[in-house]
Symmetry: C2
Subunit: 119 residues, 2 copies
DNA sequence: TTGACATATTCCTATATAGGAATATATAGT
DNA sequence: ACTATATATTCCTATATAGGAATATGTCAA
């Protein structure tokens, strides 16, 4: 079997750096395709193709306005990624290091309390 | 050009659901390959191959112990993903909705203050 | 050293890109 | 109707999988 389609889910869609760049630009607001072409320095067909993938996974929405097509971010599609990766935050976050220290202390106190029955 | 290699970066590596599952299992602690084989119901060679990809992007580390190889999580490799996706949190988080309300109010108050030169 | 166990690698194939080039479609203006 | 502008689609090709099957490598134990 080959790799899953880029349109299979958001994880596959955003594996491509250009598509992340497109989302980053759209984060600042709605944009026509040509804005993206200019800002990212890509060929127009490639941008349209990337936008199609992003649309298929629900990461962007489109709106017609005259001869332009205005794309806008739909961050909801990225929530599963956020939810998944958030579980690993403790691997690098000082905040969680601190939390771990506190939890360790609680556990130690609890163990000490065992013999003395509370107090 | 084809798609970037799965080993190109963490984004590409974790696009494959099996590899995310492997990381999820390793999050609970170090494991030999056969544990993963049993827990995920995959063929052993496939697991070894997925582990290789995860190793190449730095998401796991290995340690030899007798005839077993113990794999463990290295969450640091996932930080870039977390950092990237975090910027989109406001799209779905109520917390940020609230923050936006506050910011709007501040902006409004500032605008009102314009004519009255401070207060 | 022979055998059992644990893991990695190699070979195979169907499939899906990403980018470039060319072209199609749609809309506005004259 | 014609033209310019904006965007999408199609065709092409090199490349990289993911999984299955077979096999290689490494290590312990008798």
């Amino acid at each position: 079997m080959a790799r899953a389609a880029t349109t299979a889910d958001a994880f596959n869609a955003i594996a491509e750096p250009r598509r992340r760049q497109i989302l980053d630009v759209l984060a600042s607001g709605e944009r026509p395709v040509n804005d993206l072409v200019r800002m990212l320095g890509l060929a127009q067909p490639q941008v349209s193709k990337h936008l199609r993938v992003l649309r298929e996974v629900g990461a962007v929405d489109v709106r017609d306005e005259g001869r332009q097509r205005l794309y806008r971010l739909n961050g909801h599609a990225l929530k599963p990624i956020h939810d998944w990766v958030k579980a690993y935050e403790r691997s690098w976050s000082e905040r969680f290091d601190q939390l771990d220290v506190v939890l360790q202390e609680l556990k130690r106190e609890e163990a000490e309390g065992d013999g003395r029955n509370d107090q």
